[in-house]
Assembly symmetry: C2
């Protein structure tokens, strides 16, 4: 499949580049951004970052300030877009928490979303192979993180595919989407009313159902306005405790939900992933 470079910027000695390709899985053009540290030879470590509601492939690269540390650690960062776009489906543009910019990293089964809103398969079956085929990245040292809806996506993919993602963290993730307004709206719309079909996209239920063999790092702002209504870290904490899973959850005094918060803790996450990835044989 053909990959088109839209723009590229030198930053912290490396390069932030924006790509587009026609996706077979979503049936639409899809965009992603890539930070490659300076070099040219193979980059040993890669972080896949999943963004939150309303974000694009740009937000993290512009606002998180992660590239300096990534360059120091010789780590690449990849940021896919948060949904297919421009399909003209009814209701696609009506709200910030459903449709465009709100793909929830799942494969929709309900009409009219099931044909294109397939972010889960897009990432696992198309984006990752494309990345490892086209860039000097090592598939054996791949970390995963994300923010809010993307934190949820990271936890879901990381728990379900530990053989693919070798280190896992999240910032302000939606931990129990089956039981919060954002999640119930999205899951009902994309997956239908049968809640048994929701469990494979719910981090809390996944920890209960299949567990996780490793450490999961999570930061959550205590002044986040979505803390008790949408994000509910106590849900995943309870599931982790019950299953003796090593969830390192830090509640951060005074921090909100925005990228001011993400930027404040992203270096700590990169450092965490670096240690995990470096420890691999």
């Amino acid at each position: 499949m053909s990959l088109s470079l839209k723009s590229s910027y030198r930053m912290h000695s490396g390069h932030v580049s924006y790509y587009e390709h026609l996706s077979i899985v979503t049936g639409t053009p899809m965009k992603f951004s890539l930070f490659l540290p300076e070099g040219g030879r193979k980059v040993k470590k890669t972080l896949l970052w999943l963004s939150g509601l309303t974000c694009t492939d740009e937000n993290f690269m512009i606002k998180a300030g992660a590239q300096k540390k990534a360059q120091e650690l010789d780590m690449a960062i990849v940021c896919p877009d948060t949904s297919p776009r421009g399909l003209g489906l009814p209701g696609e543009e009506d709200s910030r928490d459903f449709g465009t910019g709100a793909g929830f990293y799942l494969d929709a089964t309900e009409q009219p979303w099931s044909k294109n809103y397939r972010m889960h398969s897009y990432i696992m079956e198309e984006l990752l192979p494309l990345l490892f085929a086209n860039f000097p990245l090592d598939s054996q040292r791949l970390a995963l993180s994300g923010h809010s809806m993307g934190g949820m996506g990271a936890l879901v993919l990381g728990i379900r595919y530990p053989e693919v993602f070798h280190s896992l963290s999240a910032l302000a993730p939606i931990t129990n989407p089956s039981d919060c307004p954002w999640g119930v709206k999205a899951f009902t719309g994309y997956l239908g009313e049968d809640k048994s079909q929701w469990r494979i996209y719910d981090p809390t239920h996944l920890l209960e159902d299949i567990g996780y063999n490793g450490t999961i790092l999570v930061h959550q702002g205590k002044d986040d306005q979505a803390l008790t209504t949408q994000l509910k870290p106590d849900c995943i904490e309870a599931a982790a405790t019950k299953s003796s899973i090593d969830l390192k959850l830090t509640l951060c005094e005074g921090y909100g939900h925005s990228y001011y918060f993400v930027a404040s803790f992203i270096d700590e996450h990169l450092h965490f992933h670096n240690v995990q990835l470096e420890a691999r044989p």
Copy 2:
């Protein structure tokens, strides 16, 4: 005058806060942002940052990634807006390089701009006194920097008021606005046709006319598309050489004009200012 806090976000242990106040000088509401490092006691060092064309008080705080280093150095950062806004003057919204978002840090003398487009006096006579009256900042350790149009503004104010600004730098500044399209358009519109009135707002001419006793740090991307047409670092370099002024100009291979470039070198500028400000008695 009354100062209104619009929003505040914890970041890197400190706080990014957005303020608005009614300006006597511009006759409009004016906004600025302020990063205060964690503490509460007096912050010894402050950087005033002047942004470029089309920017607001937000761009630097969101995109430059300077707060981590500022927190480490215990340095405050202040970012004023780039012009008055919303006056409804004819032509105010017509272009990205004149009117709204393009105040050029000067006091206009031409109609209809002369009543409100007075960013020079706004900063020197209103914003700085307001800052030192309302926040725990030390007026005796004040650094100045900026980007593009704001780099020009920083050089102009820094060269003209060395008793106010104790350290001076710029990123990709317009160095010789009297002789580039952006500058000629703005100066003609705001100051009229008489070029003798332009010299006090032109960094290259100011170095020729009054010199500078100290070091000026400048970074400029070599792949900046405005390099040879608008920014022309060779102009200020020639003036500095002629007058034996210590201009430390670095041309940065592969870097463009955007905040990817600013973010890449801002820590070096903060470090430079920190050394200069710490050296003061």
